[in-house]
């Protein structure tokens, strides 16, 4: 024995169909909103990523400049020390000249030879000439060390500055890209959501049957 009459069963079927259609529309709306939300969320993620990129790039550029300054200072100091070493070497050569010529003069004097004339003087001149010849080389070495060290230091510092600039610039570009991607993600999510909603509305219109209509016609 049937529990429900055929009319009741038909009414239940119509109501079920209507409920299904409405539920489908609701699902489409939810899906549409979810797509939009996903686009906004993706945009936010990209924005965050852009900010992070900029911040990290600033840190990295500052560090690069700092490292370049330190490195350049160290290089300058090394050149100075090297020039000093060459100066000490020249002084050593002068002390040796002084000592040698003193010996020449002492011997000459001991032997009763005039120290400012003759061969004694010539030996002294020779020694002086020879020593200054080496001192000139040493002086040149010192000068070169100073000049080259300064030049290297300058290069290091300039390179550090340039690297930092590049890092900042790239970070700027990356941040712009991320922001652009975020905008596109949000736009796509919105469009997709709207399209889903449109299809949902269309399906609803195709499937909805008004259960309160006689004969079950929409």
């Amino acid at each position: 024995m049937a529990i429900f009459s055929p009319a009741t069963v038909q009414a239940i079927t119509q109501v079920s169909g209507a409920v299904s259609s409405v539920a489908g529309l609701a699902t489409s709306y939810a899906s549409s909103q979810a797509s939009k939300a996903q686009g906004i969320y993706q945009n936010a993620m990209y924005q965050m990523q852009a900010l992070d990129t900029l911040r990290l790039a600033g840190i990295r550029a500052d560090q690069e400049e700092r490292y370049a300054a330190i490195q350049a200072g160290r290089k300058l100091k090394a050149a100075e020390f090297e020039a000093l070493n060459y100066k000490i070497q020249g002084n050593t050569l002068l002390r040796n000249l002084q000592r040698t010529n003193a010996a020449v003069r002492a011997r000459a004097a001991a032997n009763g030879v005039d120290i400012n004339t003759g061969s004694v003087s010539a030996v002294q001149d020779y020694n002086t000439k020879a020593s200054y010849q080496d001192i000139g080389v040493t002086d040149l070495n010192g000068l070169m060390a100073r000049v080259l060290g300064f030049e290297d230091s300058l290069n290091i510092y300039a390179a550090g500055k340039q690297q930092a600039d590049l890092t900042r610039d790239a970070a700027d570009r990356q941040a712009r890209e991320l922001r652009t991607a975020g905008k596109f993600a949000e736009t796509s999510g919105g469009l997709l959501g709207n399209a889903q909603l449109a299809l949902g509305v269309q399906n609803f219109a195709n499937t909805f049957v008004n259960p309160f209509n006689t004969g079950g016609k929409p």
């Binding site: 990209y46 790039a57 370049a68 290089k75 050569l93 040796n96 000249l97 040698t100 010996a103 020449v104 011997r107 061969s119 004694v120 030996v123 020779y126 020694n127 000439k129 020879a130 020593s131 010849q133 080496d134 001192i135 080389v137 040493t138 040149l140 070495n141 070169m144 060390a145 080259l148 030049e151 290297d152 290069n155 290091i156 390179a159 550090g160 340039q162 690297q163 590049l166 890092t167 790239a170 570009r173 990356q174 712009r176 890209e177 991320l178 922001r179 652009t180 991607a181 975020g182 596109f184 993600a185 736009t187 796509s188 469009l191 997709l192 399209a195 449109a198 299809l199 269309q202 195709n206």
Partner: protein, 578 residues
């Protein structure tokens, strides 16, 4: 001055120019994700638009199709349009705007299907008519083929203008049904032709067999060249060959085998029949002993050659036929004699019945006795005849009468001689005649059934042999009582004009007996018997059979004898005896 110290120059060298420090600048990689995301978004958008347009166009197509179907449903094809289409003009059917829209195509397709359905229905109707004509034999396969082809071509051509697909479908459908009808037509034709050939052959075969039988009856045939008798089997070979050739021409191995087997069977039977006819002829049967000897020796005159070539089982059949014919002949003669004897016996019984009613000294009695003695084979032995007609006969013995009746009912007494032999030995002549009448009477079976039933109810065992019955005994008395009651029942039925069967009487008597046995008195008697059964000197179940043993056991003990008398009474009461 030799030891003046001199400074040697060139001790200091110029320092080499070192490698310039050239720091590497690495430009950081930029991920152009924005452009990619843009491209991806554009792709998604494109896909989305594709999907939407597909769905919307699909929807639009669906609406257009539905509209087309609706149009066709609202405007069904008319009979005039169908008639026009049958003539090849489908213009009125086609909705043509020249735009080739889906609506138009749908209308076209629906129209084509509608038309196809009409055509299919008509074609099926035609095919059914064709099937009936084929079954009735009014249409040949060629007719069927032509009509199907014409019908299919006509309808297909009309449909093709509307929709080629519907046309193809229609053609395929009709081809399938048409092939079935065509196949049926071919099969019917083939079957009919084969049946005709087989019928013709069968007729020819039967004629051949009849000719063969006639030839076999001759026993042999004379060779025209040598003028000597030759075997029938040689002639049968020609028949066999002809039949085999004709059967094979029918193209059916089964028929060939069937008729080959039938021929061999017919030949064998023809030989048996011919020889049997020969050996059962009056001439041959005049002396059966000599005839049997001739059969055994194979000397059968013109049938000798046939006989010699017959297989052993066929010879056995002929011998059996001969013996059967001989037996039948003997039986007929015996039956004739028996009939004569029975007539004479019946006539004798009638005479004897009349004789016994007449006074001993009457002339009529003497005349009847003279007539009785003049009947040949009257069945009454001369000695018995004397006894029968003896006026001073002794009284009959009931025991002898009972056993005689029982024997008649059982069928053990079935000749008059058995009755005649008892005359003067417990049976009077009159009783003998009554018994004889009963034996030769028609209603004996019913009487026998009633007698058996009454004996059983009375407790008389008559399963075999002669019954030793005490005329004063309880069983005999009970039997007489039951007989009297049965006669009462029969008389009552006759008064009411009813026909009662013996079984009905026995059933009625059994019910009455049961009622008596189940009466309070019978139950009380059985209860009292149980008391006697527990007595020390009895100690066991008491039945009527045990009475004699108990009497012996009691001896001269008066008290025990009194108890036995009481037991007898109780047994009768328990059995419901009247």
């Amino acid at each position: 001055m030799a030891d003046v110290p001199l400074i040697q120059p060139g001790r200091v060298q110029l320092d080499g120019v070192p490698q310039a420090t050239l720091p590497t600048i690495t430009p950081p990689q930029v991920d152009y994700i924005g452009m990619r995301a843009g491209a991806q978004s554009a792709g998604q958008l494109s896909q989305l638009l594709d999907r939407m347009s597909t769905q919307l166009f699909g929807q639009a197509e669906q609406y257009a199709k539905e509209a087309g179907m609706q149009y066709v449903a609202d405007n069904p094809v008319t009979q005039a349009q169908i008639d026009s289409a049958k003539k090849g003009d489908t213009t009125p059917l086609i909705y043509n705007t020249g735009q080739g829209t889906i609506f138009e195509k749908t209308v076209k397709k629906a129209r084509a299907l509608e038309l196809s359905s009409h055509f299919e229905a008509e074609a099926r109707n035609e095919l059914v008519k064709l099937v009936n004509e084929v079954d009735a034999g009014n249409a040949t396969s060629a007719d069927v083929q032509n009509r199907i082809a014409t019908m299919t071509e006509g309808y297909t051509a009309s449909l093709r203008q509307v929709d080629p697909e519907a046309s193809l479908k229609f053609r395929a459908t009709i081809a399938t049904h048409g092939n079935t009808v065509l196949k049926a037509a071919y099969e019917t034709e083939l079957k009919r032709a084969k049946e005709q050939r087989v019928a013709k052959f069968d007729l020819d075969f039967n004629n051949s067999v009849r000719l063969l039988e006639k030839t076999v009856e001759q026993g042999y045939w004379l060779d025209p060249t040598t003028n000597k008798p030759r075997s029938i089997d040689e002639l049968a070979g020609v028949f066999r060959e002809n039949i085999a050739t004709s059967a094979m021409l029918l193209g059916d191995a089964g028929i060939q085998q069937k008729y080959a087997a039938q021929f061999e069977k017919a030949l064998g039977e023809a030989k048996i029949n011919a020889v049997t006819k020969f050996v059962t002829s009056d001439d041959f049967m005049s002396n059966p002993q000599a005839g049997l000897q001739m059969i055994r020796s194979g000397q059968l005159g013109k049938m000798s050659i046939v006989w010699q070539e017959m297989p052993q089982d066929a010879k056995a059949k002929v011998t059996a036929n001969f013996l059967l014919a001989d037996n039948q002949r003997n039986d007929l003669e015996k039956r004739k004699r028996d009939d004569e004897k029975r007539v004479n016996e019946q006539r004798s019984i009638d005479l004897l019945e009349r004789i016994f009613t007449l006074p001993d000294t009457s002339q009529a009695r003497r005349d009847l006795i003279t007539e009785l003695t003049s009947i040949p084979n009257n069945g009454v032995p001369i000695g018995t005849l004397k006894e029968l007609l003896d006026p001073n006969q002794k009284e009959g013995n009931p025991r002898v009468q009972f056993n005689l009746l029982q024997g008649i009912y059982d069928g053990t007494v079935n000749t008059p001689d058995q009755i005649w032999s008892l005359v003067g030995k417990g049976l009077t002549g009159k009783e003998a005649v009554s018994a004889l009448k009963l034996m030769t009477g028609e209603g004996r079976r019913d009487e026998a059934e009633l007698a058996r039933g009454l004996n059983k109810l009375a407790g008389i065992n008559v399963t075999g042999g002669v019954v030793v019955l005490d005329p004063k005994g309880a069983e005999f008395q009970r039997l007489n009582g039951l007989r009297a009651r049965a006669t009462e029942l029969q008389a009552a039925a006759m008064r009411e004009g009813k026909v009662v069967m013996p079984s009905q009487i026995i059933d009625q008597l059994t019910r009455e007996l049961e009622q008596r046995r189940n009466s309070e008195q019978a139950k009380q008697a059985r209860t009292q018997l149980q008391t006697y059964e527990k007595m020390d000197w009895i100690n066991g179940p008491i039945t009527a059979d045990k009475i004699a043993a108990l009497e012996r056991k009691a001896g001269n003990d008066r008290q025990k004898l009194q108890q036995i008398n009481r037991i007898k009474q109780l047994l009768k009461q328990a059995e419901g005896d009247i």
